[in-house]
């Protein structure tokens, strides 16, 4: 007989007409070495992994391309436009990424400020409209701002990716209310991107009801990226299950868990 947990079937994560098994997506940057990157990603169970588009080092003094280490048959490669500060640059990088021949998905970033790496929403909207018209499936990294999120959905984005806190900060989910209202109001998947630092951050984020999380530095900068990868897998699954389970109501007074009758005389 199936237990309650086994019968609690979660739907697959569907983005832009594709279904994914894992709600955890991970980046491939900043790892100490490529073997720990591959091990950490494997431990995380992530299916979607992000990559960046950069010039080839013609002198071969730096490491080779990421595809020497990551099997594109095993992972779904999601290229980003990280480092782009204008819509024009982001569109250029997205086109180059698509030409690599893996898929039509792009994680769109248009950064507006070097210190905080916060997004430029105007540039983001402009780039999203151009890319959607060219057939891209756009997953847009944005602020935890409802109006921006609605505009990105209206522009045809396949997913909206509000931040938990700034990229690489590890500050965790700073505004759960904003994330919940974005999730409640949007029809496309909401994937929280950036800011998660440790497993509890991931769990709390998933408990808000969002569709998934993308993280990079939390794994890459952990003392043991492989162990953190596994912790994040469990945290995302636990947070999702807790959300589906429906948490108890908060009360500001105690309510006894044991019977108040039958006490000794």
């Amino acid at each position: 007989m199936a237990t309650m947990v086994e019968s609690l079937v979660d739907s697959a994560l569907s983005i832009g007409g594709r279904e994914f098994r894992s709600r955890l997506m991970v980046g491939t940057g900043k790892y100490r070495d490529n073997s720990s990157m591959v091990e950490a990603i494997t431990a995380s169970g992530a299916e979607i992994v992000t990559v960046a588009v950069r010039r080839i080092d013609l002198d071969r003094t730096k490491e080779e391309g990421i595809l020497y280490h990551l099997d594109p048959k095993r992972f779904f490669l999601l290229a980003n436009t990280a480092g782009c500060y204008t819509a024009e640059d982001a569109v250029r990088y997205a086109r180059l990424a698509r030409e690599a021949g893996f898929n039509e998905f792009i994680k769109l970033e248009v950064i507006g400020d070097e210190e905080t790496l916060l997004p430029d929403v105007a540039g983001l909207l402009e780039a999203a409209r151009t890319l959607v018209a060219e057939g891209f499936k756009v997953m847009a990294y944005t602020n935890d701002d409802l109006v921006a999120a609605i505009k990105l959905e209206d522009a045809g984005c396949s997913a909206v990716m509000p931040l938990a806190s700034p990229i690489g900060s590890g500050l965790g989910l700073t505004n759960p209310f904003n994330i919940r209202v974005i999730k409640r109001r949007l029809s496309v998947p909401v994937i929280v991107d950036a800011g998660v630092g440790t497993a509890s951050d991931a769990c709390i984020t998933m408990e808000q009801g969002v569709d998934g999380i993308l993280m990079n530095t939390a794994l890459a900068a952990a003392e043991n990226p492989v162990a953190m990868g596994r912790a994040m897998k469990w945290a995302v699954e636990a947070g999702r299950l807790a959300y589906l389970a429906g948490r108890m109501a908060r009360r500001e007074i105690a309510v006894p868990s044991s019977p108040t009758t039958g006490m000794l005389g």
Partner: protein, 70 residues
């Protein structure tokens, strides 16, 4: 013999043989065309066209690939 010409590859000047195609350039750099995306003067050159696309003096060529990133 065609004379050598100068092109800009990933921001650096390089001398190549006159009449070279994009594919010739990739071969001279020992790059596998299947792992490279090529842009010339901001226009992407699709893979099937690499062999038939000649390079010209002063062309700005970008050779990119995927690296680790978030």
């Amino acid at each position: 013999m065609n004379e050598a010409m100068t092109v800009i590859v990933n921001g650096e000047k390089r001398q190549i043989d006159g009449g070279s195609t994009v594919l010739d350039l990739l071969h001279s750099l020992a790059l596998d065309p299947r792992t490279v995306v090529v842009e010339i003067n901001r226009e992407i050159v699709r893979r099937p066209a690499l062999d038939g696309t000649p390079l010209h003096e002063g062309d700005q060529i970008e050779l990119v690939h995927f690296v680790g990133g978030g």
